[in-house]
Symmetry: C2
Subunit: 200 residues, 2 copies
């Protein structure tokens, strides 16, 4: 434990363990990026990360845990990238749409990866609650911050709206990763929802 403190969600462990964990998640992202959900095969991940299959399962108790953890790491990056970006939209609706478009574009730039991570998220049950909640918080945080830049506290109505937007976003993404709608339709769908919800 080199540095001062650790968040509740951070795992402790030796540097060798942190290194292994990183290698595993890197391999996961890499395989997902190449061939999507089906290409993330546990034996392949273990091989590419240069750990034994049993070790992989010691770090991540299932394929779903593995992929949702990877999603968490990706969302963390996205959220911190967004924090540094100045939004240009004039209204809450415009800014929210801007944020969602940026995020979606990032995802749609890597369809296989998106498919793998979204599928895992949708399939995750309560045993993955910790990782899931983390992703949900990033999402809500990104939307509420877009609604009211600079503010740090948000009232119930704002959070409720952000949640609904998150739901629509997930459904739209689901439609896209499962090939039921195009990227354009997905964007449209989200835009309509945001305008309906933030129309005052």
């Amino acid at each position: 434990m080199s540095t001062a403190h650790s968040l509740a969600t951070e795992e402790l462990g030796s540097s060798a363990q942190r290194e292994r964990r990183k290698r595993i998640l890197d391999a996961t992202i890499d395989l997902a990026s190449q061939g999507g959900f089906d290409a993330v095969q546990m034996r392949a991940v273990a091989d590419q990360a240069e750990v034994a299959l049993g070790t992989l399962y010691r770090y991540f108790p299932s394929k779903i845990h593995l992929l949702v953890s990877a999603l968490g790491r990706e969302f963390e990056k996205t959220e911190s990238a967004l924090r540094e970006r100045q939004l240009t939209g004039q209204t809450p609706a415009e800014r929210v749409i801007e944020v969602l478009k940026l995020t979606s574009r990032g995802l749609q730039g890597d369809p296989h990866l998106t498919e793998a991570l979204t599928r895992a998220f949708m399939f995750a049950d309560s045993s993955v609650q910790t990782e899931i909640n983390q992703v949900g918080m990033y999402m809500t945080s990104m939307v509420t911050r877009a609604m009211h830049p600079g503010r740090t506290e948000f009232d119930d109505q704002d959070v409720a709206i952000a949640r609904v937007i998150g739901d629509v976003w997930l459904s739209a993404l689901m439609g896209w990763v499962t090939g039921r709608s195009t990227a354009a339709e997905t964007g449209q769908q989200i835009e309509v929802a945001v305008k309906l919800l933030l129309r005052d």
Copy 2:
């Protein structure tokens, strides 16, 4: 539509084939109802429906197709039951909430079945598009009809709102079947969204 013609989504076939198909779907619903998604094992379905495994796969090319087809049959029943029911709500929002509560209550009365069907729906890819679209149409139809009872044509705004509500409903259901939220929270979540969307 007894004998004269058939819709595009209806399969033709001899009465023996229709009978087998029904037995398979019945077995599917039964097993799902008892033990959820995991209990719907293809060998078990085949056994209970008294068909060979190969025959099961001839009728439904995958477990997902099988379950989404079963969902379609259930939704058909729900939708026609709702058609005959007189809604008591005074406003569109109240009526939509009424319809969704009724539907949700039906689902939550059989948690295992709901879990199985919802999971399958979420996991379905574009190869199941036909069945998926059918389910989506039932959903949109139920919501728009609740918004404007008696009306048969709906403008774009109404349909857009119905779609957003459907998205929230699916996300909420997902949270519930995966054990991430309670039935009460799910109902609350949907109610908030409907009130936000139909607040004028």
